[in-house]
């Protein structure tokens, strides 16, 4: 396959993300990477579970967490995963414009989530003086949830730079795998959030 066919394909195959060897490599490599990421978050969850009662006399999870805010955040992030599915659906149909629209919605929802998270952290720090340094529980909470938040930031930057870079040139066999794995990453962030919602917030207030 020549450079020309990769950047300006005459017809798009049904699975453009896996049409070239590079694409296939990225596809499988990224699944492996997510395997490693799972261990990373599993380690953080383990640490959190070991330390979530170690409040050192400070605020405990029951006193801090409110489910209303977390519910909104969860809805935003879960919906953004759905919209990224729509984007990939349109990628497979070679409808670049619709893909970009749905990616834009995904980014907007992700940004919404991020704003709520920043509000939440800010609230805990200023309202309750609950910081990373107040207790082992604080360290574990901000590390686990913050790592997830960091992943969200990275995912958003990833989506945005992909969209800006490719806005004018449409879909091809070189950028299709990039869009695809960015959306895989986004789903992974979502799955991790479901665990955070359960382990940190639900188990924290119940």
């Amino acid at each position: 396959m020549s450079e020309h066919d990769v950047l300006n394909p005459k017809h798009m195959p049904h699975n453009p993300e896996k049409a070239t060897l590079e694409g296939k490599n990225k596809f499988i490599g990224f699944w492996f990477f997510l395997g490693g990421e799972s261990v990373l978050f599993a380690s953080l969850f383990g640490t959190y579970l070991a330390l979530n009662d170690s409040t050192n006399g400070g605020k405990s999870s029951e006193e801090l967490f409110g489910l209303e805010l977390v519910f909104i955040m969860t809805m935003l992030l879960l919906t953004s995963s759905l919209t990224s599915v729509y984007a990939m659906y349109h990628m497979k149909n070679n409808d670049f414009k619709k893909m970009m629209v749905w990616l834009g919605i995904t980014v907007a929802l992700g940004l919404g989530f991020l704003c709520f998270e920043l509000y939440e952290f800010n609230h805990y720090i200023h309202e309750y003086e609950f910081t990373m340094r107040s207790s082992a529980f604080g360290s574990a909470f901000y590390t686990l949830v913050g790592f997830h938040g960091g992943h969200v930031v990275f995912g958003l930057l990833w989506f945005i730079s992909l969209m800006v870079r490719n806005a004018k040139r449409g879909l091809n066999l070189y950028n299709a795998p990039k869009f695809y794995i960015a959306s895989l990453y986004w789903h992974f962030i979502d799955v991790v959030w479901v665990f955070i919602f359960t382990v940190v917030y639900l188990m924290g207030v119940l």
Binding site: G29, S43, A136
Partner: protein
């Protein structure tokens, strides 16, 4: 674009630039070999200093504090900066060739992985020059490490974090390469054992290193940002560090040992002129060891107080590893059995390895008995055990592989006589050093102690051990002489100097940068041997000559690594003075900027054209 005509003598600058930007796995292999070899010498000198301090009772060759730095850096350097990169050197040099691939799956990541390892390694050692290296042991147990003053442990944390990221990239790269890029006919059950072990080791890297990443982050937050994960005053728990460290650390043993087994499987089979006995069982044992490697981390923590139930489970799981390892030992013996054996340097290392490693495995089962471990724990018995495994297994394999694959990597062959001298000095020195340490340990000599008293029955053993260590040093000097001499003489060898069996020997030495002009058709295990027994000279091609797709060189991996290296200093010194935060912004700016450049710039490589390949073939 693609000119195949080899440019005569390149200028030094051009060569340097070539290596700084290369994405060729064979050149990256050479860089891993040089960097890993350098750190091996550094770690070796640290070991000699340790042994010299212990040569007699109440010695004062080094201070107690410096001694702590020496043992910490010796362990860290040898595991992370010598053994791992040297394994990666062979994986890079050999795995793509053994499976008949033109390249690795992610050439750019491959180069990035190398530079991250190198800058992480440099970062670790910067501590020596800025007021003290890490001194909390290579395991960096909290709270010893969290309360260690100065910046030594900070360098440890950030250096390992940077180089660990590089290792993870390497692991993913080899997994994908082996899954996706095997030549036609190269089924999983026809893959050479070295490739198989590289595959399983890469999977272990993938699942083990993130645990270390998290552990290092927690340590970093504790030390640099006032978090309290391991701080009992804040409700923290120091045992969490131990768990995370060993969830990584135990698989790490197999990340090193499995490829070592792979190296010996290749060598024993080649120089016995037989296919590997029990190939299927060997593959099965490799996978099983990889799996069990994750189930046994807490055997490092029997004396922490986990309770008898946990101790028993981990003891039994640990002992279970002896079964697949035993399978491997017997398969090597049966491969030798009835073979027409050629004894040369690589084979000597292999033959020396079998009894040595078996001894290490036997003491492993002893240490795995939780009740007995209360006696062995933190004594020289444990030191002896793991050096039998890591040196007797891994370092022997690295030295064997060095002699075995040197012709493939450099096109010249290491002197066999000098190689044998190296072997005997190193082998005898090794056993003198470490065999007696079993007894020192049983007599109560503790690990990590700076010195010992007279008339405790420890004098003679320590003296012998130190003499042995220096004999190993002499062996290493002979190895260096050998390398220099071979390079000076520069006698070229052909593609297949050992009359070997696997695919890497089917192409010239050193291989052309595109590896295989035509992908080979693999028709069985030991594909080159299959062709030879049918009277052919080389492999049957699986495709007509066509264009070959190659990746472009890139300077970005180097830039990214430098950026993270700079940011590391910012993270460390901001705890004294917040103005150092600027370094974090500069460093991360460089790294992220380079990453962004990488992702927005199209880089789809180039093609070597069919006509050029044909022209080259006619010349």
């Amino acid at each position: 674009m693609s000119t195949l005509v080899a440019t005569n003598k390149k200028s030094f600058g051009a060569t340097l630039w070539d290596y700084l930007t290369t994405v060729d796995h064979k050149k990256i292999a050479i860089m891993y070999l040089i960097a890993g070899g350098f750190f091996f010498l550094v770690g070796g000198l640290e070991a000699l200093a340790i042994r010299w301090q212990l040569v007699q009772p109440m010695n004062d060759f080094v201070s107690a504090g410096f001694y702590n730095e020496l043992i910490t850096m010796h362990g860290t350097t040898m595991i992370f900066l010598a053994a791992m990169p040297l394994i990666f050197a062979f994986m890079n040099a050999v795995v793509p060739l053994q499976i008949g691939a033109r390249d690795v799956a992610f050439p750019f990541l491959n180069s990035l992985g190398f530079w991250l390892f190198l800058f992480g390694g440099i970062m670790l050692n910067v501590g020596w020059f800025t007021g003290g290296a890490a001194d909390a042991g290579w395991t960096a147990y909290a709270p010893l490490s969290t309360t260690s003053p100065g910046e030594g442990v900070d360098y440890y944390v950030l250096g390992l974090q940077i180089s660990g990221a590089g290792t993870l990239m390497g692991g993913i790269n080899f997994l994908v390469t082996i899954v996706n890029m095997r030549a036609p006919g190269m089924t999983y059950m026809r893959m050479p054992l070295f490739t198989w072990t590289a595959f399983v080791a890469s999977a272990l890297i993938l699942f083990a290193f993130p645990a270390l990443t998290v552990g290092l982050f927690l340590m970093m937050f504790d030390r640099l940002f006032g978090a309290g994960f391991f701080e009992a005053n804040m409700g923290g728990n120091a045992v969490i560090w131990q768990h995370l460290f060993w969830i990584f650390g135990h698989p790490e043993v197999y990340i090193l040992a499995l490829p070592a087994f792979g190296v010996f499987s290749e060598i024993i089979s080649t120089f016995s002129k037989k296919r590997l006995f029990g190939y299927t069982a060997m593959v099965f044992a490799t996978v099983l060891i990889g799996f069990l490697g994750f189930m046994v981390w807490a055997h490092h923590m029997f004396t922490v107080g986990m309770g008898p139930a946990a101790n028993s489970i981990f003891a039994v799981a640990t002992m279970a590893i002896a079964v697949p390892t035993g399978i491997k030992i017997f398969n090597w013996l049966f491969t030798l059995w009835g073979g027409s054996i050629e004894i040369n340097t690589p084979m000597l290392w292999a033959l020396g390895f079998i009894p040595t490693f078996t001894l290490g495995g036997m003491t492993g089962v002893m240490v795995a008995a939780a009740s007995a471990d209360y006696q062995f724990h933190d004594t020289y018995f444990v030191v002896a055990h793991f050096h039998y495994v890591i040196v007797g297994g891994v370092v022997f394999a690295l030295l064997a592989g060095l002699h075995y694959w040197w012709p493939k990597m450099f096109g010249t062959i290491l002197d066999d006589k000098l190689g044998k001298i190296t072997f005997w000095f190193f082998f005898i020195g090794f056993h003198l050093t470490f065999f007696i340490q079993h007894f020192l340990g049983l007599m109560g000599m503790p690990r990590r102690y700076w010195t010992y008293l007279e008339n405790q029955g420890l004098d003679l053993g320590n003296l012998v051990s130190t003499i042995g260590a220096f004999l190993m040093g002499v062996g290493t000097i002979f190895l260096l002489i050998n390398i220099v001499k071979t390079t000076m003489k520069n006698e070229r060898v052909g593609g297949d100097p050992w009359d070997a069996r696997t695919l890497e020997w089917a192409i010239p030495s050193p291989p052309p940068f595109y590896n295989f002009k035509q992908l080979p058709l693999v028709r069985g295990l030991d594909p080159l041997w299959v062709e030879k027994t049918e009277g052919r000279k080389g492999m049957t091609p699986a495709e007509p000559i066509g264009d070959i797709h190659m990746p472009n060189n890139s300077f970005l991996p180097f830039v990214i690594s430098v950026g993270l290296f700079i940011a590391g200093f910012g993270f460390i010194y901001q705890k004294h003075d917040l103005s150092w935060l600027t370094l974090i912004f500069i460093g991360m700016g460089i790294a992220l900027g380079a990453m962004l450049t990488r992702s927005v710039k199209d880089d789809i490589g180039y093609h070597i054209h069919k006509e050029d390949l044909q022209k080259e073939a006619e010349e």
